[in-house]
Symmetry: none
Subunit: 205 residues, 4 copies
């Protein structure tokens, strides 16, 4: 895989919608090239095959997301506040790039099959949350739970599915506002819970 020129990379994003629509496996190289507006053979000049094209696209997208979330997560403030920022950042980036997001999550199943992709997903989405949970326990702004891994996964799932749903829906056109609203809902749920009575001291079950 040669150094991909920025111009080509940006053109390739034009294919994200296609991938979101058809799925990775069903997106033909011809279609990807057409959607990107470049000759098919040119793809093969820069990439060694279809999979590499897709890997490049996904990696690029994930890098973007990881960056934004990472920034929010490492800002100053309490872990709890930063968790809220990170949730919002994650939703914001998903709603900003709905096609990319659909392509990514739509072929989530591939994560099961491509370890590399699974790791990148973990890095971009899951780890920041897990870290913030731990930090929250340290700085006293979040309580200690029994199975932090499951909780991080739950939060990740809540964000991802809610974000995907909004991305697929696509009816709104103020994505920043949507992200803020949804993030508020999720954070309210995750922080305050739904119970009308405080948890009894003996545990929940």
């Amino acid at each position: 895989m040669r150094q991909v020129p920025a111009k080509l990379a940006s053109k390739l994003y034009g294919a994200a919608e296609l991938i979101a629509e058809r799925g990775l496996a069903d997106a033909k190289v011809d279609e990807i090239a057409d959607a990107a507006g470049i000759p098919k053979a040119t793809l093969y000049y820069y990439f060694t095959g279809k999979d590499e094209v897709l890997a490049f696209l996904l990696a690029d997208m994930l890098g973007l997301i990881a960056g934004e979330v990472g920034t929010a997560a490492s800002a100053p403030g309490s872990a709890r506040d930063r968790l809220e920022s990170a949730v919002e950042a994650q939703l914001a980036v998903m709603l900003d790039h709905p096609a990319v997001c659909r392509a990514l999550v739509g072929d989530l199943g591939r994560a099961t099959r491509l370890p590399e992709l699974a790791a990148a997903l973990q890095e971009a989405f899951h780890r920041p949350i897990a870290s913030l949970l731990a930090e929250g326990v340290s700085d006293g702004t979040l309580r200690l739970v029994e199975d932090p891994g499951a909780v991080a996964l739950s939060i990740f799932g809540a964000i991802t599915v809610t974000g995907l749903s909004a991305a697929v829906d696509g009816s709104s056109n103020d994505s920043a506002k949507d992200a803020a609203r949804i993030a508020a809902s999720i954070c309210d749920l995750m922080l305050n819970g739904l119970a009308t009575t405080p948890a009894n001291p003996e545990g929940d079950r």
Copy 2:
């Protein structure tokens, strides 16, 4: 698509693992037929094509899941208790059929593309939760949230992603126990939240 005999349906489940492993697009019809132990042409006698085979499998699985979750959700007891039962039921059925579940979520992207499947998913997973949330507000066991749709989606996401993760992992062999443990974690999170201080009265942001 002809009426599929029960015997054939059950044989087809033998192909779920394959689909989970390879993904639908990469699972050759020959392989599916082999995995199910039936001649390829017989598949085409009952289904109009590869996609219909998958659609049948997914629909069948979703029906199963919907049944189990529905039973839990409509048992006697407070809505809050039933929510906990439903979460556990959902996780239990996911862990009971890990291959099916992986196939389902693995091709989740298809849900974006097949409205029919999206509707079935909604029916099996999402709606029971949404209903219980509303009932909880009525019977006073769950508090009223601002955006119940987003909350239901979040819970659905938490369960699904956590369940998928456990299904993919597959290291344990007491799935019922796993389901109970994970369900407890999720419910603790969803009911009690993570905040160390009660939500301030002005709202969280």
Copy 3:
């Protein structure tokens, strides 16, 4: 091939239109069965295979035609008069059964490949004409030509192509009248020729 019940035979004629439309090779057994209104497997009860079904249909049709033409050709009268009757009979039967005729002639190419069919065609269409030409020379009503075979073939071709054209066209609904009119044209041509000056005695070349 079992004795074919008359009822079945008549039903099979319902498939002639289909064969005319699609061609023999492209008419699927399923389609033939559907067109005839009988179960596909029943065809296989009476016939050993697709080809036999087709052979039966074609043979039956040709038998019909041969009979009508034969009757006209063996009526009393001069050979020349009987030639005219035979031409008209042939056209009449073609226009009476346009689908059969199209199926038969449309797959004329098959005659090249199925010797049996070629022989039957010869018998039904070509031989009566050749015989009448010879008889006409004997009874003095038709002149002797140099290559009687070529002439018989020419007449056969003129009738067949003209009849096929009319059968395909299908715009008229008085087939008997059409047949008479076309037959008159052909006979006028074949008997009197187009030359404005009599043939010179040395022959045409």
Copy 4:
């Protein structure tokens, strides 16, 4: 269907014999490709399917025939002489390309189904004859008949069937001589008729 390179076109003629022998429906794409000496996939690069390959071949052949016949028909001389030339030209080209001719007539049934092909046939064979008949009336070398369309069709049929018969037979190896001999027979018939007595003035029937 892309622009077909001349080289490819000429190679495809190598498959005409095969199509003539087997018929289009029974000629496998593999066999056609083999007979033409090109990879199967290359056929699909230029044509959208098997049918288009045949359509191209037939159209190409018909173009050839139309050219030769057109030349003969537009030479100087009386219409009657040119009719004789055209008949001979048509037979000559049929006997020169027996495989093509057999393929053409063999799938003549297709003409019933492909309007495009029917039009091309009309153009190549039928129209020149019809024109010459009309011109013959004008220049006084051919008499006026009642139904010129039927007569043109009859002549076309006579030539085609006779030519096909000779092409299928294929026993001779001096095709030019054969064409001349058959053409003479047909022209003798068409010009002078078979009647031993002149047509009676009241018409033939």
